[in-house]
Amino acid sequence: MKLISEPLSLLKRIVLGVIGTLGIGLILEVLIRTRVISGAGLPLPSAVVRQGYHLLGNTAFLTQVFYTLREWMLGLLIASVVGVILGGLMGAIPTVFTMFSLPVEVLRPLPAIAIGPLLLLLLGTSMLPMSLTVAAACVWPILFNAMYAMRSVDPVAVQTAKTMHVSPLGIMARVRLPASLPFMFTGIRVSASIGLIVAVSVELLLGSGGGIGGYILLASTSASNLDVVYAATAVTGLLGVLVSGLFALADRAAFGWKKGLAQ
């Protein structure tokens, strides 16, 4: 019985994606307008799209979007630096691994969002505690990818460099690090999308009014503004899709040689 089929071409997938999205929107629109499904607060697609369009021209909203973006970028940067350095060292040096594996195992499952309020108390109201919360959530995929990548660098590549009299430090910098970079970047890509969600969540949690989260919090205080909430959420989601697309492009441009790695 045929349950598995050949993959479609890119063009076909794009066309189908557009059709599917428009079609689902249309169906939802009709169902709500004809009151087949009814209830307070349902998202009418046309209203959400109209709101979204307005929001993109709304400087107050855009300011908050940029605030969130900066907060998120800063968090991702901190997570990348810490994750790559600590994870890389843990992967390359067994002693470092022994030293940090217990704290890493204990801290990793702690929901990052919970330390947000604490950081706010300790560091005062600013972007930094929120970015640090984002970093606390983003650091793990990066750290683990860096660790596994450094650990599993092809021994033949390392031996090759050894027969060329490359020093241990040189092997680290010229063989292990470059061979691990694509996987570290994969970690950063994964973290990037987690980070945006955490950034908005921490804004909502701290409720200090900043960012898209703060904007949504204000908007959702009045029930009549629900379209704005939907639209702001959707715009943020689109932003996230855009960013992961950019990261995918950067990945292909910088690490196209990845296919040359054995296995």
Binding site: L3, G23, G213, V229
Partner: protein, 286 residues
């Protein structure tokens, strides 16, 4: 194949034993350094004249955790009042939300994955869903689903379903035409294709998605209790702070970390078992 010869076994000589125990001792010392440093910084922080107010000392935190979460008598299964009032309801909602997402995600994901055309129709929306800051929809969910546990459970499920859905579609589509041809050549029944080729083949990806979903579900659990809530760990995080009850706040953090660790251990166990079965099952087909 090479011949293993057992001639001239060096074995474990007497001088090896003290060396080995020295190595183990070194490991223990090394792995204790960083945790001790962290505890030290935590403790010093709690003594600080300016920030110490917000930081409960490690000891106070542990004592408070025991009182709140483990202070009960036998009739309460030795669980404290806070455990009954906040911990268990939170865990209950998170569990229901997670399993709801897992079941729906895998079923829908498999259905989409086997039909490339349908998958393509929904693909942009799945991508969007994955990037959506679902916590922002907290207020909306209360409006849509009333009060009580349901809006919270559904928010958790809605928040964590995307990585499962995405990875299931990806996993099912990634089975590869090689195995598809095997299925055709052997004229397997639909059921067998589904349970013996598709799901086992996609299992590693589904697990990866489920792991992300599990850690997200703890975040969503906390978020879902921030508004219109009378109990739960998320509620407690806010309430303790509002009452300047910092030892209480820190004990919630500690409990959250413990939950995370336990969940991690459980999922590693399950994964090992299920994926070992997966390897055995697929190696028969390839």
């Amino acid at each position: 194949m090479s011949v293993l010869t057992r001639a001239a076994q060096p074995g474990v000589s007497a001088s090896d034993l003290p060396r080995r125990s020295r190595l183990i001792g070194r490991r223990v010392v090394l792995s204790a350094i960083v945790p001790i440093l962290i505890l030290l910084v935590w403790w010093l922080g709690s003594l600080s004249p300016t920030k110490g107010l917000f930081i409960a000392s490690p000891l106070a935190t542990v004592v408070r955790t025991f009182q709140d979460f483990l202070g009960g008598n036998a009739s309460h299964l030795f669980l404290g009042t806070v455990a009954w009032q906040d911990l268990l309801p939170s865990l209950w909602r998170a569990t229901v939300g997670f399993w709801l997402a897992l079941v729906v995600g895998v079923v829908v994901g498999t259905a989409l994955g086997v039909k490339p055309v349908v998958a393509a129709l929904f693909q942009p929306l799945v991508h969007l869903g994955r990037s959506l800051p679902t916590p922002a929809l907290l207020g909306v969910f209360f409006l849509l689903f009333g009060t009580g546990d349901w809006p919270k459970v559904l928010l958790i499920a809605f928040g964590v379903i995307w990585p499962i859905l995405f990875n299931t579609i990806d996993g099912v589509q990634g089975i590869g035409t090689g195995r598809a041809h095997v299925a055709e050549v052997f004229k397997l029944r639909r059921r067998d294709v589904l349970f013996r080729i598709l799901l086992p083949g996609a299992a590693p990806k589904i697990f990866a998605g489920a792991r992300v979903a599990l850690s997200l579900s703890l975040i969503m659990m906390i978020i879902s209790e921030l508004q219109k809530s009378r109990n739960g760990l998320g509620y407690l995080l806010v309430a303790t702070q509002r009452n300047f009850d910092y030892p209480g706040f820190w004990s919630v953090l500690l409990v959250l970390a413990l939950i995370g660790i336990i969940l991690n251990i459980i999922i590693v166990r399950i994964e090992r078992r299920v994926l070992a079965w997966h390897q055995g099952a697929t190696s028969q087909h390839d």
